[in-house]
Symmetry: C2
Subunit: 397 residues, 2 copies
């Protein structure tokens, strides 16, 4: 054994997802690519906004290349951080300045900085099921433990009663992913307010802050005019993480930011620690050209319509066939309740009809599967016959 | 205290370097920017090769944007990994294929992946003084300890006798940075061969591999026709790390790679663990556009002349003034021996003449200062009068 002990299981876990991916490729070889309906991946399919390419060209032409591709302070270009702060202030009535912003290697990089800066071995972080399985690894990277709050079925809001009993003196943070991957649900203002009350009570009891880590790469993907409450507005001990991966369809470029509210307890020690973590984790800084690009695209509208028609079509057709779905209010996912207790039976039956779905056991939610509709409308239309056969197989409708 | 215990000292240490930077800015306000001679930073000053811009433009025009800016396998674009393998094979007679390559967020990102994949808390990694101080943090991120081998003065090769006594049953790897930051020395073939012998002996004794982590961002910066031995050619248990930061003057873009020799012990478990570490540390993948760019610039020649004339001028003039310097064979650094026992006195005196130098205490080498000559020739010429005054102040020459 040359790898570290806690890597073994992780590597084994990785290969499960890889296996699904490879099964899809094998399937495509046999039945043709157009007859495989892959709803397993969260890779944004909407086109990259034109402004991104225009800004790349402009920056490379107008700015000195030594700056564009060079080192800057570890927290990012000061002028980009200022622009991010101003945009958040204008949109959410906050009081950030550039010093409260850290440009990060996506939201995943930002979250690793938070845990590196904050966790002592044995510390606890809480996630609400269903949750993005990588959180468990991000916490484990620094010797912490993820505590899971069971899901709030069927509303898929936050199970706050169960949260209360899970906060201990070792709890340093709770993660809230809004809109949620994999449920597609938006946590309501009322839910956030109650969360704030539960945390305030715990903070008073243990005499230390319990931060909310707001993971919001899907913020702009909210349908039907719904709004996503900006948590730091409600809860002062909040660390806000954002990624441009989904909004600008740039997931490979690894660009996002972190914002720490001025009112957050320990701001003066936490902010330098976050910047230091960004450096020593080897990110050093968020990729430089794309810092400058996103600085010009902060309020570039997302192509919501691209996902909304997928969402409407699938929701209407699948509920019509008798599937039981979460209401897809945001992000580009929803959950389908497995019609049989073992969701793996459902996943495997779907595969027989060349539909690829992800079981949400690793999201802390057995009995469900995730459908990612960040795909072409065309593929959805082609898939409907297969879904009908799947419904028939389980005698739905 | 809201930050983790081991972050306190790190943050305090960070502010020492920041202080120097800020002192330089203050100095510039008083005496003018052109009268401050900043030799403290390792930020490459040579121009970005034209081919980089041409490739960015070509890729954005010819390739689908969903690919250019999108997710790919965590290890990187398969075709880029193939190209890297072929280039290493052609240049160094190796037998890599694409599966042995991980595209990384610079060499710093690659090294963090290595330690995340390999270290259990309490494991040891060895560095040879003088060494890049961040190694200590990269190892500490995962609960490991850095053991320092004292410097081999005055040759600044590897102190292999001292190494032998420092390898324990907990030693997982030794880091070799060739050419070396901060000494500018190139480790000779003979040194590498002897290193291989010492490690083979230790591996036999403890019954487990002790890997060489080859940190080689400065590989192409070798002057006077000198060559840098390719360590994996000599030592099979080698993990090779490369960054395009210096060669292509792209430090802000965070792009590099890692190559694991096929013959390395545990290759079959180590490679998947490295890829998994790249994912769970939140890098997810190296920035996508720049993966494609560097894939076309793998053998783009570095502008060696840009640094070589700086090197020659400074070495000639400073030795002429009576300063004692390491022979700057590679990278863009050399060491000046402090003319007084406390190098901080020397650093502070230099500041009086507006010369900024870094003391190498944090590199594990008290009594010396580092001079980074990745600056404009012009600034060096302007600085010579100040160096003369500094020499006089210590009665050199």
């Amino acid at each position: 054994m040359v790898i570290s002990k806690n890597m073994e299981a992780l590597v084994a876990g990785s290969s499960v997802i890889r296996k699904l991916f490879e099964e899809g490729l094998e399937m495509a070889k046999v039945v043709g690519k157009e007859n495989v309906y892959d709803f397993s991946l969260g890779n944004p399919a909407s086109p990259v906004p034109k402004k991104v390419g225009e800004e790349i060209a402009r920056i490379l032409k107008e700015e000195p290349l030594g700056k564009v591709h060079g080192y800057m302070p570890n927290a990012g270009f000061p002028e980009v951080r200022e622009k991010v702060a101003k945009s958040l202030n204008a949109r959410f009535g906050m009081g950030y300045d550039g010093g409260d912003i850290l440009m990060s290697v996506g939201a995943a990089g930002g979250m690793n900085c938070v845990f590196r800066a904050m966790l002592n071995p044995g510390d606890e972080v809480i996630a609400f099921a269903p949750f993005f399985g990588e959180y468990r690894n991000y916490v484990a990277n620094y010797g912490g433990t993820l505590t899971v709050v069971p899901p709030d079925i069927p509303a898929f809001q936050l199970n706050l009663e169960a949260l209360e009993s899970r906060i201990t003196e070792k709890t340093r943070a709770v993660i809230v992913n809004n809109p949620n991957n994999p449920s597609g649900v938006i946590y309501k203002e009322e839910t956030i307010q109650k969360l704030g009350e539960v945390l305030a009570k715990a903070e008073a009891k243990y005499g230390r802050p319990v931060y909310v880590i707001c993971d919001e790469p899907y913020r702009e993907l909210a349908y039907g005019g719904k709004t996503v409450p900006y948590i730091p507005k409600y809860i002062k001990n909040s660390i806000y993480l954002y990624s441009f991966s989904k909004t600008l369809s740039l997931p490979g470029e690894r660009i996002g930011y972190l914002a720490l509210s001025k009112e957050a307890e320990g701001h003066e020690e936490l902010m330098p620690a976050l910047v230091c973590a960004n450096r020593i984790l080897g990110y050093v800084n968020a990729p430089s050209l794309f810092q400058l690009v996103v600085g010009e695209c902060l309020e570039e509208p997302v192509d919501l319509e691209f996902y909304d028609r997928n969402r409407k079509l699938l929701y209407e057709k699948l509920t019509g066939m008798g599937f039981s779905l979460t209401d897809p209010e945001g992000a580009f996912y929803f959950l389908i309740k497995s019609p049989v207790p073992d969701e793996e039976v459902f996943v495997n039956k779907a595969k027989e009809f060349h539909i690829l779905l992800v079981n949400t056991k690793s999201f802390g939610l057995p009995g469900y599967v995730r459908l990612a509709y960040c795909v072409s409308y065309d593929m959805i239309e082609r898939s409907l016959g297969a879904f009908e056969k799947l419904a028939e197989a389980f005698k739905l409708g």
